[in-house]
């Protein structure tokens, strides 16, 4: 278990995100609703949703690399699809590593609210992986 992946950057704290592991050992990222993540009245801000998705993708990848001392990751790009407006309630996110190569990782992240099958947004990320410090 990696303490690193569970330690969020200051921006993760700013968004109020908490991390836990679910029963399948998947990292689950939860962002409570609040003024800081609010967009137009009654809805989440798309930027906050994108921030949550990125934190889930990067955290999940760092966790997968936890056994490799000195490994680090750096985002190259991210594409976010917004499927539904996020409402005034907790938002969850989890990520799946599609491929972890020697230099590049492909990661997908998903965000939902009350129903895990009804995504509000998803993201695809390419990240650079540096191994062995």
């Amino acid at each position: 278990m990696s303490a690193d992946a569970l330690t969020l950057p200051p921006y993760g704290d700013f968004l109020g995100i908490a991390v836990e592991r679910d029963e399948t050992d998947t990292l689950l990222f939860r962002m409570p609703f609040g003024d800081r993540v609010a967009g137009r009245p009654g809805f989440l801000h798309g930027g906050a949703i994108a921030g949550l998705l990125e934190i889930a993708a990067v955290g999940t990848l760092r966790d997968a690399l936890a056994e490799e001392p000195g490994a680090s990751v750096k985002p190259i790009n991210v594409t976010v699809d917004f499927m539904r407006g996020g409402r005034v309630r907790d938002t969850f996110a989890a990520a799946r590593i599609t491929r972890l190569g020697a230099r590049i990782a492909n990661v997908e992240a998903f965000a939902w609210q009350e129903d895990r099958d009804k995504l509000i947004a998803s993201a695809r990320m390419n990240l650079m992986v540096r191994r062995g410090g």
Partner: protein, 159 residues
């Protein structure tokens, strides 16, 4: 329908005065100081016929990498989402509801710690239902951008 946004896209000869029904400075004051935009601290810089520039000041609580002090990418996405949204409203000449369909951002390099980030969004194509936008962010030198963005918006007041 109070005003046809179609006219903006299909009548290039009758180019509408873009700012007739939309004042970017006033709008930004309205939406940039509340909620997430207010929390990250975006503010107005300047605008043109189909583009807008906003700024995001460096702040410790927006850091994405504690070791390097580099700003997180999330606030830069929020900044670019906002700057490109402004560009659409300016080009449409009205402040109508819209939703981001998708947004892609390429992180060209890390923002320099301590520097204010400028986000410039441009609406290069507007149809009745969809707006196509692009933009970039820099931290002092527009010729050396930190990020490039492409996104689309959907008009939510159209059936």
């Amino acid at each position: 329908m109070p005003m046809s946004p179609l006219s903006l896209a299909t009548m290039p000869d009758a180019h509408p005065p873009a700012l007739q029904g939309f004042d970017p400075e006033a709008a930004i004051r309205l939406i940039a100081n509340v909620g997430h935009n207010g929390a990250i601290g975006t503010h107005y810089v300047t605008h043109g016929d189909d583009w807008a520039e906003l700024a995001l000041d460096y702040r410790d609580d927006l850091i994405g990498d504690a070791d390097s002090g580099v700003l997180a990418s999330g606030p830069i996405i929020a900044l670019m989402d906002m700057a490109t949204s402004m560009a659409v409203w300016i080009k449409r000449g009205s402040f109508k509801p819209q939703a981001t369909l998708d947004l892609r951002i390429d992180y060209l390099r890390a923002a320099t710690p301590g520097h204010t980030v400028i986000g410039r969004g441009e609406c290069y194509r507007l149809t009745r239902r969809i707006a196509f936008v692009r933009g970039y962010a820099h931290d002092g030198d527009p010729a050396d951008p930190i990020a490039h963005v492409a996104a689309t918006f959907m008009m939510t007041d159209e059936a």
